[in-house]
């Protein structure tokens, strides 16, 4: 976390020069472009994906309608045999209500375009209704070949007064099975050992996928008050979303996208705080000189010699793994190298004529430091900030990878920790391992580009 570059001094490069030269550097601009991209991703994420989804990351309940270890949906573009996509229909395509002879009937339709080369894993109908009495529910599926299958016909649990009932009807439900077996004459093959979803989505002559439009109709009949408050159909597949899902059914795109603002926050906060602290510390020690310098530098030596990673681990285990404290811990180990370099640079600056002049004019110490010394070091400070960001991000990712991260704010490192725990490498779940690491690398790369570009301006000898 410390820069080991030996530096001559800050002569020459002023902030204006720095800006001008930086804008001309291709590497620096490439870094800026990636960084702007990451900021755009962060802004979109914060605006579009509600933070609640993200805070529920470690709550298995909130991911129940998602598939387990599904590949990203776009892989289908490259495959000849299309993997069934996981479809979550949150609300019906159409709802019709009619009252006839005191019976209110509601009909809800879900349309599923099924053009894949494999059977779905399952299908789940989930609903919640507010009612009185005991309404009837019937689910039918109209298939592409014009045939229809009655899946279930049942009465909902009766209730004396208005109450809310929620239920998930699974394709493995035994009454669905029974109903299908009663209609099994339509299949020209023996349906005995074939699972329900493989029958519902099968052609009639052979047990192969029947592609096309399926319409699931849910009819309810009630004499008294009945109101559907939520209704959804899930057709379980093996492909889902932009990045796929993990073993705990979490949508990896959510974790990955929310990880971006988090990583930028951690990286930039740690880098800025470390460099500021190191700069002030080093400049003050160098400017004061003598005993103050000696004492401050010995303290610097002590912190420098502490092994960072073991200590970060102990700190996160014994004190807290909250993300804000973690940022603080990273700063504790981040400022040391910068303090060393700033000190030696301020030693060179303080003997220059204008500092002497300012002293003679009776300017206060703090004014001399802030007005005359620190501005000289700013180009170096900017380069150091850019160079320190990737180290902060990878260190935090490393700690999270060991399982020591803040569980309420999952980072890329934590996604990789889970991937490693669930043996993603052994099971070939590349979509779980690749994207978080690539994001870490990309974020690091943008700052390394910017840092190197700034560095070669501040240190002209590296150019050529």
């Amino acid at each position: 976390m410390s820069t080991t570059h030996a530096r001559g001094g800050a002569q020459g490069a002023t902030l204006v020069d720095l800006k001008k030269e930086f804008l001309g550097s291709r590497m620096g601009m490439a870094g800026i472009i990636i960084l702007v991209g990451l900021f755009v991703i962060s802004a979109i994420t914060v605006a579009v994906i509600p933070i609640e989804t993200f805070q529920e990351w470690n709550n298995p309940k909130s991911w129940i309608s998602y598939p387990k270890t599904a590949v990203p949906a776009w892989t289908n573009i490259m495959l000849a045999e299309k993997i069934p996509e996981h479809l979550v229909l949150d609300e019906p395509a159409s709802v019709t209500t009619s009252t006839e002879g005191g019976v209110t009937s509601t009909s809800q339709e879900f349309v599923v375009m099924f053009d894949y080369d494999g059977f779905p894993n399952d299908f789940i109908y989930t609903f919640s209704a507010e009612y009185e009495g005991s309404p009837l529910m019937q689910i039918l599926v109209l298939r592409p070949d014009g045939t229809s299958i009655k899946l279930i016909s049942k009465s909902l649990p009766s209730s004396q007064d208005v109450s809310v009932h929620s239920e998930r009807i699974f394709s493995t439900d035994s009454s669905i099975r029974k109903n299908i077996m009663l209609q099994s004459d339509m299949f020209e093959f023996e349906p005995g050992s074939i699972s329900t979803e493989d029958l519902v989505f099968s052609a009639t002559d052979v047990n192969e996928v029947l592609k096309g439009k399926y319409v699931f109709t849910v009819d309810t009949y009630s004499v008294e008050h009945f109101e559907m408050t939520g209704s959804g159909l899930i057709v379980g597949g093996k492909a889902f979303g932009l990045i796929g899902t993990d073993e705990l059914r979490r949508d990896l795109a959510v974790g990955l996208l929310w990880g971006t603002p988090l990583a930028l926050f951690i990286g930039i906060t740690v880098a800025v705080a470390s460099v500021m602290a190191g700069l002030l510390y080093g400049v003050y020690a160098g400017y004061r000189g003598k005993k103050t310098d000696e004492v401050m530098m010995r303290f610097n030596d002590v912190v420098y010699a502490l092994p960072a990673l073991p200590f970060l681990i102990i700190l996160s285990v014994t004190i807290s793994n909250s993300i804000l404290l973690m940022v603080g811990f990273l700063v504790i180990f981040g400022w040391v190298g910068i303090a060393k370099v700033s000190r030696s640079m301020s030693l060179q600056i303080k003997v220059r004529g204008y500092v002497d002049a300012a002293e003679m004019m009776g300017q206060s110490r703090s004014k001399i430091i802030t007005r005359h010394i620190i501005p000289q070091l700013l180009p170096y400070a900017f380069a150091s900030i850019a160079i320190s960001v990737p180290a902060a991000i990878t260190t935090e990712a490393g700690l999270s990878f060991l399982g020591l991260g803040d569980p309420s704010f999952p980072t890329w490192g934590q996604i990789l920790h889970d991937a490693n725990t669930f043996g993603a490498a052994a099971r070939g779940l590349w979509w779980w391992m690749m994207p978080p690491g690539l994001m870490i690398a990309l974020t690091g790369l943008s700052f390394v580009f910017i840092g190197n570009a700034l560095d070669s301006i501040v240190n002209p000898r590296l150019k050529r």
Binding site: T4, A6, R298, D301, V302, Y304, A305, L306, P307, A308, L309, P310, F311, I313, I314, L315, V317, T318, I319, L347, P390, T394, A397, G398, F401, L402, G403, L404, L416, A419, N420, A424, A425, A426, G428, W430, M433, M434, P436, G437, I440, A441, L442, T443, G444, L445, V448, F449, N452, R461, L462, R464
Partner: protein
């Protein structure tokens, strides 16, 4: 200040740092350590009473039984000196003194492969493996890095230079452990060339153990070298670029000394001091990074031991491993300092 005096002040600083590190470690884990030890004693006393000679039936009431248990627990706590808080000077002094003499006590959960629970045995068993893997890797990295860097630095702007520089920049932003996961995915599962777990199945006493260990070491070694050498080459390249602009190089060129000789003999010799210093530092730096890398590859060294100890909160092992890691880190900083002071006398005056 002479080199000897310089070395002496460094030794004193380093020893102070070692003590401070030890103190901070004990301070951080001390309170946890006490509660864990006390829980252990309570459990021990209860099992002894329920299974042992004292029949549970002789007590009139539950309260009486509890009082008896509590009395026994308090007695034992007092014998072990745990009635004083962990921050009392005697206890901290005693534990620091013991640890300085490498007496780390017994591990709570972990054992060595040979079954010993003495923390010193465990560490002595794991340490050589970490040194084997990371020292080998660092040596390969530095050799490849120095030659590639010298080559790139002598031909600034050439294809070799640009390739080296961009590889360095790109590889330095990848976390080693993530690349490790991918390497395992590729070379252990997709193409089954190397074992996925770096721990050999043989017992350490088996004659084939060394061979198995080396075979299991290949994948982590390749990964560390792959991610590491770019940064090294880039560093050496930057030193070389500076040196190749010096007057003496121009003079040597002018009198017709072959370019290759200038690069590898004269220029590299001048770049040696910072390179040697950084080599010493990176040797120890790699030991710290070992914690995550070893966890990924399941390499049975200090890093994995540390990780396991943290997972089960085996405090004596944590303290012992931190101490040993710090000691190694300090020794290499010290060596680096001395080398730097030897090569560059300006450092010794503190300017």
């Amino acid at each position: 200040m002479g080199l000897r005096r310089y070395a002496a002040t460094r030794v004193i600083t380093m020893f102070a740092v070692l003590l401070i590190t030890l103190f901070i470690t004990i301070a951080l884990v001390g309170s946890n350590m006490d509660s864990i030890l006390k829980q252990g004693i309570a459990y021990q006393v209860r099992t002894e009473i329920t299974e042992g000679t004292t029949a549970a039936g002789q007590f009139q009431s539950v309260e009486e039984f509890e009082a008896f248990v509590q009395e026994r627990i308090d007695q034992r706590v007092a014998i072990l000196g745990l009635d004083e808080p962990w921050y009392s000077p005697q206890r901290i002094g005693l534990s620091m003194y013991k640890i300085l003499l490498l007496d780390f006590g017994h591990a709570t959960f972990l054992t060595s492969d040979l079954g010993s629970s003495d923390v010193r045995d465990i560490i002595l068993e794991k340490l050589p493996r970490t040194i084997l893997l990371f020292t080998t890797a660092t040596i390969i990295i530095s050799i490849v890095g120095i030659f590639l860097g010298a080559l790139a630095g002598s031909k600034v702007g050439s294809a070799v230079d640009r390739l080296t520089s961009s590889f360095a920049v790109i590889s330095s932003s990848f976390p080693v452990w993530w690349v490790g996961m991918l390497m395992i995915f590729l070379f252990a599962f997709t193409y089954q060339i190397f074992p996925a777990r770096a721990t050999p199945d043989l017992s350490p006493e088996d004659p084939g153990y060394i061979g198995a260990l080396l075979y299991h070491m290949t994948l982590p070694l390749i990964t560390i070298v792959l991610i590491g050498f770019g940064a090294w080459a880039y560093l050496v390249r930057n030193f070389m670029v500076g040196i190749m602009q010096e007057d003496f190089v121009t003079a040597k060129r002018a009198i017709g000394i072959r370019p290759r000789r200038i690069i590898y003999l004269h220029a590299l010799k001048n770049a040696a001091p910072p390179i040697v210093t950084i080599l010493a530092l990176s040797l120890s730096g790699s030991l710290g990074g070992a914690i995550i890398t070893e966890a990924v590859f399941d390499w049975p060294g200090m890093g994995r031991l540390y990780f396991e100890a943290i997972t089960v909160m085996d405090l004596p092992v944590i303290i012992g491993a931190t101490y040993v890691l710090t000691a190694f880190f300090l020794i290499s900083i010290f060596v680096a300092d001395i080398l730097y002071g030897y090569f560059d006398p300006r450092v010794r005056t503190g300017q």
